[in-house]
Symmetry: C2
Subunit: 308 residues, 2 copies
């Protein structure tokens, strides 16, 4: 645990921590008070999404980033909401948001136009997608079913994740963690980081990056010992993918690991558990692999709750 | 020039190069045919904006990124258009776009709502900002005055910049380069790059990054020898800022260098030329430092054209 302690102790203080905590408390209160409601217990899942950054300089000009569009996390959030879960969406700033997948990159400039009498009008071809995005998003947020918390750096990500786990403890087995974010494996410890922009005059740049402590262990053991935990393993080399997923399952005592390969990740994932490796395919080109995946996980979560 | 040649030879091929070239040819054709028009010669500026990324793996999961919101480039584009220039806006995907500065991060989800009869409606508080963004943006693009070309990696950025410079040659002194993008100083040469995701099991990661060849020299000497060239120098340490700006001016034979410090860059820039260092301040809290800066540069560009 020493590595973990020193990671958090040397990390820059999370701005806005009080505000985040009070949002979380309110969200969990609302959702746990419906625990005894007639509709049965409400389940809450924390979906993490997008890549974390690792600053290379304290006054950050350069950083290492992990590729992730946030598509997986945003899509999964939609299916969890559809399955009756409430969702805490811990997402990288600027990545894909729930219900916005079928929109162009820059919806405001690409979907709208001004009419002759200077009114804003959505273009016919985007009309349904835009309406759906606005309607579903507002319904989820204002209904208290979706709480969105943004992060950028790995320091923010892990500190907020810890706050979420602490707030969710009260939910016991009804809580789930669905850790789809692409978390950096390497970082520059804050206190050994250059204060100013690294100068380029003096030849090649040699860098030594430390390993980020394996927080999945800490999450399972300390932060969220009673929740159902699902992590992700993404590789570009499919030869080593299943072996690494299996290792992660055992090492971090996850309840399930979703294994996916970069080039086929939208068509196929493999759900690795103690008892089986299940290939999950999307039904067709117009459907999402997240639809059968979330169904399967909801079932496993139900069994987990029953057995607790 | 050897470094430059090997950079381009080892770079991954630019996708979509033909399409970009044909867009550029059409844009320059339109704008140079109005050269002999009664309104006097039309000037074209290439504004570069946002940071470039450097992939660390060929199947890119991790990359080094340079911080830049793209605010400077987007704002400057607006003032150049206002001054009668046509603008080629070479911008990092997802960064700030012209006329969108006063909008929230996620305009679609934050500015709009559905009415009871399921129509899309912009919220009163954002109404003017949204209308202005859509109106001005469409007017510039459909009027053939603004061409937007996106990039992500340093390989894309430099290859597209070269295409732009080649197309703009015909404009002679009427062309300007305003290089506000935050370009990586270091990179991993494509052929020495890991093909697969770097594994984290084996302790700390040591990396050696090569210097990106100084393309400003190549731009001035070979790609755009007759254009007016302005580069930027951003530092976090103000002690070394002016010295470095001065060095860049002389070394790369720029016509002007805009020096700015990270923490005060929205209030103050210093325009460094052969003859003077001029501090340029914004007028007040509600105005942009780019307004006086572009005025000054347009004047210098006029003098440059006269003297050519």
């Amino acid at each position: 645990m020493d590595e973990t302690t020193s990671f958090f102790e040397s990390a820059p203080l999370l701005k806005d921590a009080d505000n985040i905590t009070s949002k979380l408390t309110q969200f969990i209160d609302q959702n746990s008070s419906s625990l005894s409601g007639s509709s049965g217990p409400r389940r809450v899942v924390c979906v993490t999404s997008g890549g974390t950054t690792v600053p290379l300089e304290q006054r950050c000009v350069r950083y290492i980033d992990n590729f992730s569009s946030g598509h997986r996390g945003a899509t999964s959030t939609e299916y969890f909401l559809k399955s009756g879960y409430s969702v805490i969406f811990l997402n990288r700033r600027g990545t894909c948001q729930p219900y916005c997948r079928s929109l162009p990159d820059d919806p405001l400039l690409e979907c709208f136009e001004l009419t002759n009498d200077s009114c804003i009008q959505v273009q016919e071809s985007h009309s349904e997608a835009v309406k759906t995005a606005i309607r579903e998003h507002h319904a989820a947020v204002s209904g208290g079913l979706l709480l969105k918390l943004p992060f950028t750096t790995i320091f923010e990500y892990l500190q907020i994740l810890r706050l979420i786990a602490t707030s969710m403890k009260i939910l016991g087995a009804n809580g789930m963690f669905y850790l789809a974010a692409a978390v950096s494996d390497f970082y520059v410890p804050w206190d050994s980081m250059a204060v100013h922009k690294i100068q380029s005059a003096s030849g090649p740049l040699d860098m030594r990056l430390a390993q980020v402590p394996k927080m999945l262990s800490v999450l399972r053991k300390e932060w969220a010992p009673t929740a159902f935990c699902v992590s992700f393993k993404l590789e570009t080399d499919k030869e080593i993918l299943l072996e690494k997923a299996d290792k992660a399952l055992k090492r971090y005592k996850m309840h399930a690991v979703v294994a996916n390969e970069l080039s086929t990740r939208k068509e196929l994932v493999i759900l690795v558990t103690d008892t089986a490796k299940v290939s999950v395919y999307r039904e067709n080109h117009n459907s999402d692999v997240e639809s059968p995946l979330i169904k399967l996980l909801v079932d496993k979560h139900s069994t987990f709750i029953k057995n607790t």
